[in-house]
Amino acid sequence: MASMFALANPKRFMDASAQFLPWLVGAAALALAAGFVLGFLAPPDYQQGDTVKIMFLHVPAAWTAMMAYGLMALTSLFSLVWRHPLADVAAKSAAPLGAIFTVLGLVTGSLWGRPMWGTYWVWDARLTSFLLLLFLYLGYIALWNAIEDEVRAARAASILALVGAVNLPIIEFSVNWHTLHQGESIMRADGPQISTVFLWPLGLSALGYTLLFLALWTVRIRTEIMQRRARSLMLGDHA
């Protein structure tokens, strides 16, 4: 926790991230490549056939979309409560990436649903709450763009992010609420319910997506810091 607060200084973050970013990018590329190859080579499932390959794309995208929102809400909390200079930068930088992973989760899920459920979409609790996640991301991005004053924009967007965080447990537990979506099959008290031949590619893909998100998030935070520094330099010139 203390080291995280130390990194909240933009200068320290720029120095530290320049060191760990190449390693993060390399690890993400390795995990993604391994997950994609193992997923592509996985045998057909006895029920799903070759559509099981879509699971190795859909589940990691959905997981990363939810993780990104959780991180956005957490950094928004830091921004509101502790006013850390880097917190709102971090929250703002996570939103477009989270939105992309949410779209990937929705589209790949629909492509799996059509052959398995007989429909691309149903308005049940799981799918609807996941669609709401996309709208929360879009609303958050729109709010940042709608308010010119950065401090006010950060405060309003942080409140929206925190209110929207209520949707995360709804998404998580909605698989138990009269839905077509299958129940929890990995993070169970009695262990994963899927074969190891599918568990490995799924785990590696999830790791790859997570590391890719963290790498891109770091780059976007660095970008935002540089953009703010450039704006302050320009304002200084005109003052």
Binding site: D50, P96, I100, F101, P115, L216, R220, T223
Partner: protein, 49 residues
């Protein structure tokens, strides 16, 4: 080869899923990198002035 392309009869769903994923991740990477290089060049230009 044709068995791989057919995906057990689910090619119409599996290949678009791969396509959308590659496109989505590609967009995320490309836009992030483009914004980063632009911001870096702009800041370096301003700091030289």
């Amino acid at each position: 080869m044709s068995a791989v392309l057919e995906m057990g009869g689910y090619a119409a769903f599996v290949w678009p899923a791969y396509g959308v994923t590659v496109l989505g991740l590609g967009i995320a990477i490309a836009f992030t990198w483009r914004a980063y290089t632009r911001a870096k060049l702009r800041l370096e230009g301003l700091e030289k002035q």
